[in-house]
């Protein structure tokens, strides 16, 4: 991932970022001092072709989508987001994990591992945000966890073999 992004100053205009993905090609992002963003790409003749101009809020929205905050790509169902000590992770337990059918309270998730389950996303895409102790999980659900890295690790071992209460 070395030199993926090259940064150049454009005095009087803003900043230029040249992004070279491993699949070839090159995308140029211009961040204007006035908040506009522009995306360019080079055509076969090496000319920068303008693709789109975005204002600040549009650019942020698109950045969120690209960053996987709006929708997690299927290939990355175990995604994580770290904010210093706090880690938020999307985790999909094995379909044969011995946790299904029991409520979160029965499993004693917080007592045993320390993590908080902040959401359960069902296979149909419907999510239960902030589930109570009487909620339960179904095979194929993605569970959004919040906690320290150790707590999340403990949860992952816990769901594969929960101690009998």
């Amino acid at each position: 991932m070395k030199n993926l992004v090259k940064e150049t100053d454009l005095p009087g205009i803003g900043k230029k970022f040249a992004v070279t993905p491993i699949t070839g090609g090159e995308i140029i992002l211009i961040v204007h001092d006035n908040g506009l963003r522009e995306i360019y790409r080079y055509d076969a003749d090496d000319n920068a072709k303008h693709i789109i101009t975005l204002n600040d809020s549009e650019a942020r929205k698109i950045a969120g989508i690209l960053g996987g905050m709006a929708y997690t790509p299927k290939a990355l169902e175990n995604m994580e987001l770290s904010l210093s000590d706090l880690t938020i992770e999307w985790h999909k337990p094995e379909p044969n994990a011995p946790i299904y059918g029991k409520t979160i309270g029965d499993l004693g998730v917080r007592k045993n591992t320390g993590v908080n389950i902040i959401a359960i996303i069902g296979q149909d895409g419907r999510s239960t945000v902030n589930p109570g102790p009487d909620s339960s999980m179904n095979p194929g659900d993605t569970i959004v966890l919040a906690g320290t890295r150790e707590q999340i690790k403990a949860f992952k071992t816990f769901v594969s073999a929960p101690p009998t209460p």
Binding site: G12, G24, Y40, A48
Partner: protein
């Protein structure tokens, strides 16, 4: 004094109209402002004489505008940025100066002007308008092009050049052909002022940071404008030219932690008063006065375009830029504007020869209009040139593009590794 707001309003409506037309045509607003100002009374086609006070107000706006333009230019600098890009920038800047100073010096000598007039002519002919150039690049969606970095680097070099050149020219122009020792004294005084100012502000950098730590945007902005106008006044008293004072204040404040906040606050003011600057330049032109300088101005325009294209070609070679990019460089940097107008005004107030005055006005007008046009048409001009001279672009990079190297893909699998 009674102000006729109806007349001031009418002038502003014309300025706003320029903006509308410019954005509709995807064209720089500057040449339109100058051209519309030229057509309007007191000197233009319409038989109406606006009151003195209304004209005064527009000219005052314009004079404030030039301060804001140069102040914001100074704010864009940072010593760190300069040092980072110094080597390539100086090389490219020196190449530009050698080509274009030589050409304009020969031209000015040919017209038989005196030292002060030659210096002003060189300044007018050598320094591009960074305002028009940056705007044109954004409007034409060329910000991502490779050659744009070269162009903007050159603009930066020219801005620094101006900061040193303006005090010299104004010292020479106001010395009225005095003895060489007097001249040396006034040039020395100008540089002493600049050096002292920069030294003091670098020493007081931390203190400045603290002083400007003002929570209210209103107070902060008032303080900035107060200092800007005062410094410009001090500079003027020392015959350093207000514009230089504003530019150097910008350079100094660029080193404080407040520069982004200042820039954010002054941009709308710069845009408004800056528009008034170009507009009032147009208003001040008396078209009938210019007839004597047509030949000289047209020759100078041709020389500038040629010199810029030569520079583009040289940079294309040294910076490995395509021929298309080289033509873009050459044609984009032909725009003349704020600096040339400042120098033309300086020549006028110093009471130099009237030919120089008409020459400079006509030349600036021609290249303020032609510059953005040439930049816009540079693709077509390139295609014509390429067709006429039978150029073929070596397409080196284009070939490998879009082909996925499977080895690379494999190596990078797994975002966590």
């Amino acid at each position: 004094m009674e102000y006729n707001f109806l007349e001031i309003g009418a002038f502003l409506i014309f300025m706003a109209l320029c903006g509308f037309i410019a954005s509709r045509l995807n064209f720089s607003i500057v040449p339109l402002l100058i051209a519309v100002g030229l057509l309007l009374p007191p000197n233009g086609l319409i038989a109406y004489t606006p009151s003195e006070s209304a004209l005064e107000v527009i000219h005052l706006f314009g004079n404030i505008g030039v301060l804001f333009l140069l102040f914001s230019m100074g704010l864009e600098f940072s010593i760190k940025k300069l040092i980072e890009s110094a080597r390539t920038m100086i090389k490219s800047g020196v190449i530009y100066m050698i080509i274009n100073v030589a050409l304009s010096l020969i031209f000015a000598l040919f017209l038989g002007w005196n030292t002060a007039e030659i210096l002003i002519a060189i300044g007018i002919m050598v320094i591009s308008s960074s305002a028009i150039v940056a705007k044109t690049l954004v409007d034409l969606k060329r910000t991502a092009n490779k050659e744009t970095e070269v162009i903007l680097g050159l603009m930066l070099f020219q801005d620094i050049f101006v900061a040193m050149y303006l005090p010299i020219v104004s010292a020479v122009a106001f010395s009225h052909g005095g003895h060489i020792s007097e001249l040396a004294v006034s040039v020395g005084a100008a540089f002493l002022f600049i050096a002292a100012f920069i030294w003091i502000s670098l020493k007081t950098n931390k203190w400045l940071d603290k002083v400007f730590n003002i929570a209210s945007d209103e107070t902060f902005f008032l303080a900035i404008v107060a200092i800007l106008i005062t410094i410009a006044g001090v500079a003027d008293h020392l015959q350093v030219e207000e514009a230089t004072g504003a530019l150097i204040l910008g350079l100094v404040l660029a080193e404080t932690s407040h520069h982004e906040r200042i820039l954010r606050l002054i941009v709308p003011f710069r845009d408004f008063f800056g528009a008034a600057f170009f507009f009032s330049f147009g208003l001040s032109i008396i078209p009938t006065d210019l007839s004597g300088a047509v030949g000289a101005a047209l020759t100078a325009t041709a020389i500038t375009i040629a010199g810029s294209l030569i520079y583009g070609a040289v940079m294309g070679r040294t910076a490995q830029i395509s021929r298309r990019g080289a033509v873009n460089i050459g044609l984009t940097i032909t725009s003349r504007g704020e600096f040339s107008i400042i120098l033309a005004n300086l020549g006028a107030t110093a009471g130099l020869s009237p030919t120089l005055k008409s020459f400079s006005i006509l030349y600036v007008f021609l290249l303020a209009v032609l510059g953005p046009l040439l930049s816009k048409e540079s693709e077509n001009i390139y295609n014509r040139l390429a067709g006429a001279l039978n150029w073929k672009e070596p397409s080196g990079r284009g070939k490998s593009r879009g082909i996925i190297d499977p080895a690379l893909l494999k190596r990078d699998k797994g975002p966590e590794s």
